[in-house]
């Protein structure tokens, strides 16, 4: 069975990506990041999702003492009640987050002999983060070919982004078709008992379910 490393945050997109990878026949190892994020409870969701899917996983603990993001610095406000189509990059951007996550994924993939990395980034209904865009993913793929031992050996590690050009509604529909346990997923940037409904992540999720005309199941973990 072909191995894959899957970045799993515990949200709708990464859970759907995991199930998509499994549906394509990959044996998945999930990487879950504890980076002192404001919404650390997503880690619990990610672990539950990996277990439910029958996958092995590693929780990678990292620390970014320089912060520089409202997801790391709780004294910074989360944006809310703004247009989801606003210009510019919001303060929830974490400097180099996907660059760091994918670097660990590359290390893991090479060490366990996986030739595929799945990441659930999306560049349609998203917050404008530069490290979610196709052009970033392409450049990362090129960089891996130069920087990894497997690159030198011409054994490409493929970066797979099955959701990158889908709308949130399309992702919700795909999740339902793949039988993703949506009740386990956590998207909210806040760390409360229930999703806040106001942050960008909650609102993109709500938009997706609304446009797909599917009811978001109650959060159950």
């Amino acid at each position: 069975m072909r191995k894959a490393v899957v970045l799993l945050s515990g949200g709708l997109d990464s859970a759907t990506t995991l199930y998509d990878a499994q549906s394509k026949g990959f044996q998945c190892h999930c990487l879950i990041f504890d980076y002192h994020q404001r919404h650390r409870r997503e880690i619990k969701s990610a672990g539950a999702l990996a277990q439910k899917a029958g996958c092995s996983y590693s929780i990678v603990k990292i620390n970014l003492p320089w912060k520089g993001s409202a997801l790391l610095d709780t004294t910074m406000a989360l944006p809310k009640d703004q247009s989801l189509t606003r210009q510019g990059i919001p303060p929830t951007y974490v400097p180099a987050r996907n660059i760091i996550f994918l670097s660990f994924a590359a290390s893991c993939a090479e060490a366990i002999g996986a030739r595929n990395i799945f990441i659930g980034t999306n560049a349609i209904d998203y917050s404008g983060y530069p490290d979610c865009r196709p052009e970033f993913m392409r450049s990362f793929q090129v960089m891996l070919a130069k920087g990894l031992k497997t690159g030198i050996e011409k054994k490409t590690i493929h970066l797979r982004t099955p959701l990158i050009r889908k709308t949130k509604a399309q992702i919700v529909k795909l999740a339902v078709r793949l039988k993703v346990p949506l009740e386990l997923t956590w998207s909210c940037y806040k760390g409360g008992a229930q999703p806040c409904g106001a942050c960008d992540s909650c609102r993109f999720r709500a938009k997706g379910f609304s446009e797909a005309q599917i009811k978001d199941p109650a959060f159950k973990i």
Copy 2:
């Protein structure tokens, strides 16, 4: 004063790179990585070097549970008594190590407003690691321009590799000229009380001092 992030392992090359950056007028913040390396005592050297140079520093703790390297897995033997010009990549290669380190450096640089990252990699007297080569560095620079907020804003973060085309003897001579406190540097891959003299890192260092006709000062930390 222009800010720079400097990757500081505590060895000859990174220490020389730090002093080179300072000599060029950069205000340096050093990143020191604790990645459960076999030779964790290099961290002590790195801290002492940063302090001696009057620089701020962060110790970034990371864990690579998948190992895949003789520097992480103490059950794997370190290569010794082999030709330093042998073919292939030795087992001390850590999958994606510089990719991970540079990712953190990019995050730090963006967060603190530094536009320069210094890394002391060398592609002449080296172990053949793919992530030390100029072509890797160029591809990483391109990737940063696509994946960072500062990239979108056309504020380039420059990756600087002042040693990349120098021989080890040239690095030793530069270190002496820059008054690098060589007695604080630690290059050995083993974690003993004194350098082993047999590992690749020790032998490259010895070759450099020998060819530069300079005596390596006794290790003093």
